[in-house]
Amino acid sequence: MSSSQDASARESDMVFERSETFAPLSARRLLLLGGIGLILIGMIFGDIFAVFVLHQNAARVGASLSSAAHAALARDGAAVVKNFQDVGGFLENRGTKVDTHVHMIAFGYLALMLALLAPWMALSANTKKRLAWLFLCGAGLLPVCVFLIHYVGLAYSPLQAIGWASIFADLGGLLVIVAVVGYLSGLVKHFLSGERAAVQDDLLTDSSVPGQLLLAGGVFLLLLGFLHGSYYAAVDLYRHEALDYSILSRISSGAAAQDPAAVACGLAEYGQLQGDKAVKIAAHAHIIEFGLLSMLLAFFQPYVSLRETWKRRWALVLLLGSVLLPVCVLLELKFGFIAGGLADIGGLLVIVALLAMWIGVLRYTGQLDAGGAT
């Protein structure tokens, strides 16, 4: 056989292999499209939350804490308790929204990881497909129900402390656990089998420039995130913890000594401290998450049916947004709205690049199903 015939035979083997592992409604296709979809929705939700809820909620928490301090100043113990209950309510509202954002994105990452590991799972195609549906149902149900916890409360609940939204959120979590355990059993079965067949997966051998950009860039983002985290732990963590206690102590003793100026000064410092903590932790978490996302997307570049130059551009846009958002979040305390706006643009760049890649995968599935993918 000539070398060109050999190359064309290899190419056609690869296409057959790809179309087999990425068949319509196959586990890998469901998990990849569903996973990117979950990440996209989670990010858009996070942006909406950041713009319309986060700061307003933080202001309410600050106002309640201030009211509690002034109630202590006025020797009103009942009002102190009432204001702390309000703080609890605001934090619950904020917590459920953060959890919705975080879980949706984390489940998206898990879906992409499972899609990558699919060829190593010693399960039938049907079982993998059913587990993928189960996973996606649970991954959708949990965050939606967590979001509803604050609004549904205990209405019509048969239990005293847990509402229907929590019950359904737990059910979603259970579905995800069952699916992941099912996939893990397939992996264990594969690795324990003495006569396992060699797994062929062209996704792992792809050496395109966009793939390499995303992989190396992703690890670099992770590295930056870890270096920033180490710096935070060494320089800020213990200082913040000491300040948290000393400021609260000053507010409390100022209230006891009926010194409104000391209380007001302490409250202002406490607000600044919480802001400083929040931006540093958010920058650390976001740069690492974007790094992991970039690495995961690197493997799926062969499925992104766009021109090579556009694939490169979208990879660069994703990396640019992944750096811009955390850096601008860090600068938010110093430069205010300008840095905040740039951070939002960074988030938008990541969302747009991710959407472009998702559309590229959809195009690929269309070509594959029509029998024209190469």
Binding site: L204, F226, S252, A255, A256
Partner: protein, 169 residues
């Protein structure tokens, strides 16, 4: 499958399961109690100020500080173990694209896995012992992770690997 890849995949999955089991234990047996203690001690601190009882306020705020110190670390440990496990699994999947010899890949994988276990463990031990030992363990673990990641970034950036080994399981 190469030893390095097996180490990263199996180690990553084991660490993720361990992190989830720890999180489950924490959510069921410790988290609510911790949050309750943080909230009630903070309210008691301000209640003490309202009653002009400085000693009570001070005691309650110290209790708040201690509870918060433990809570923050326990939550961080859960998040970091699972997060690092995901990084190990992804690095394991992409190991064939790393432009290093098999020996260096194995050394890097051992470093990354060891660091991913030790760093959160050191943080967790700080809740039991405020001395320098747990801190040193956390610093050592994070240094291992940072060094391994720097080497991985360099290896992935150097050249795309097309090794036939990568097609084999």
């Amino acid at each position: 499958m190469s030893g390095a890849r097996r180490l990263l995949l199996a180690g990553g999955i084991a660490l993720a399961v361990w992190g989830m089991v720890y999180g489950l234990w924490y959510a069921v047996f410790a988290e609510h109690q911790a949050l309750e203690e943080i909230g009630s001690s903070l309210a008691a601190g301000f209640g003490g100020a309202a009653a002009r009882n400085s000693a009570l306020a001070e005691r309650a705020l110290q209790q708040y500080q201690q509870a918060k110190y433990v809570y923050d670390r326990q939550v961080d440990v859960h998040g970091h173990w699972i997060g690092l496990a995901m990084v190990l699994i992804v690095l394991g999947i992409g190991l064939d694209r790393l432009a290093f010899s098999e020996r260096i890949k194995t050394l890097l994988s051992i470093g990354a896995l060891l660091g991913s276990v030790l760093f959160p463990l050191g943080v967790l031990l700080q809740t039991l012992n405020h001395g320098n030992g747990p801190r040193a363990l956390a610093v050592l673990g994070s240094a291992l992770v940072v060094l391994a990641l720097a080497a991985f970034a360099l290896g992935f950036a150097r050249k795309p690997s097309n090794s036939k080994e990568s097609r084999r399981n």
